[in-house]
Symmetry: C2
Subunit: 247 residues, 2 copies
């Protein structure tokens, strides 16, 4: 039968891994999900994966790299509303048949897979568990947005940065991208961090410095290490439940 460690398409493993985290999928459902991709595209940094207002005929899944969703204010300021990691669906607009409501852009060289909507419909017909898994991904994404909202509304700069680092560490871990338990690639600029957290670039820098002095984070050359996660998590009251499916 199907060996779950051998993906049918290159890159399908990030996607399968993600689905398996939110739902227990039958072997048949896994096999179906594995055949989902119609195309995989290479996207350089700054390339748009999804465009606001455009109705796509395919669901975009990030397979490798790093991306974000954002909104522009007329004033020119950009607010990042979500980071998208390998395995994540870029935009859930397809669920309600609406076009995307936000732009999604690559923050690092990335790979994006497409799942044609009509093909997805057939797959979901055969394997309804796949739809359940997708809906759970959407629910988690909503949770993450709300948690970011809590950060901006009720945490100070140090807690915001710490909390985001904890979240990214946790999610990168799920994606299998954390080395030796505390190190992962973080291909963001400090300015981009600030655009997500509602902080100026300068203040992000000061905050990262102070985490460095506290020996809670070492961030150099797009590689970050969090040597003392328990202390970092305590500092910002990080509670990863919101990133998991509640049973």
């Amino acid at each position: 039968m199907n060996d779950r460690t051998a993906p049918a398409a290159p890159g399908a493993d990030a996607w399968l891994r993600r689905l398996s985290h939110v739902s227990v999928l039958s072997a048949a459902a896994q096999a179906t999900a594995q055949r989902a991709f119609s195309a995989i595209r290479r996207a350089p940094t700054r390339d748009h994966l999804v465009r606001d207002g455009i109705r796509e005929s395919a669901v975009k899944v990030l397979i490798a790299g790093f991306a974000c969703r954002y909104k522009y204010l007329p004033a020119g300021r950009r607010q990042i509303t979500a980071f998208i990691l390998p395995g994540d669906i870029c935009d859930f607009g397809f669920l309600s048949g609406s076009p995307a409501a936000q732009d999604v852009v690559a923050l690092a060289p990335s790979l994006v897979a497409s799942i044609e909507l009509d093909r997805l419909a057939v797959m979901v017909e055969e394997q309804p568990d796949i739809m359940t898994a997708i809906l759970r991904c959407a629910a988690i994404e909503q949770s993450a947005t709300q948690e970011l909202l809590v950060s901006l509304g009720a945490r100070n700069a140090l807690q915001r940065v710490a909390h985001l680092l904890c979240e990214l560490h946790f999610r990168m871990g799920l994606a299998g991208l954390v080395r030796s338990g505390d190190t992962f690639e973080l291909p963001l600029t400090q300015a981009e961090l600030g655009e997500a957290l509602g902080l100026s670039t300068v203040h992000v820098n000061r905050t990262v410095q102070s985490l460095r002095k506290m020996e809670l984070a070492v961030w150099r050359d797009r590689l970050i290490t969090l040597p003392d996660l328990p202390r970092l998590a305590a500092l910002c009251a990080f509670e990863p439940a919101y990133l998991k499916v509640q049973e």
Copy 2:
């Protein structure tokens, strides 16, 4: 009892009105939706409509009154993540089969209807358009969360308050609860406004004062009037597209 929030008409109209705003429903679908409620409950201020972590067997729909969803920080601070108006679904956790992720509490005397999940499943089987409408409601709710995130991340106090007032005016209008184009009931305290907008009560007060001086808002006795909506909207670059379904 002169309960000003109690509707004169049967409760289903707020719900039908909401669904009709996001989808064109056939007469049959409307008839089905009308028979959805299994119970309607009266909830006084501060009563919980949904509790974090509890899996309900019914979808809760606010029929009259005013409510909010929120999250507590261990530090004690409460962050309101959404306001719930008549016609709104209180929590979308049922879509993914998860328990609610947040508490929902009444901010004014309210009426809450229940739709049993198994009954909803039958209805959706018969009239798939109802599911589409519900998914669109969920998408709009996600948009609203993101817009609040933008407020906290990128707007100052005056713009935040103005933007929220514009949004509430718009949504109350959809719910048919705006009188003479610019006046509606706003049964919130300034402290609650602050908990949503990430501002201290004192500063909310100062900000409302300054809107008053600018003659952009008159707010007394839970009744608010926005005499110059174009100017108010211009002040905060309010763009209601995010509250509508994109076609």
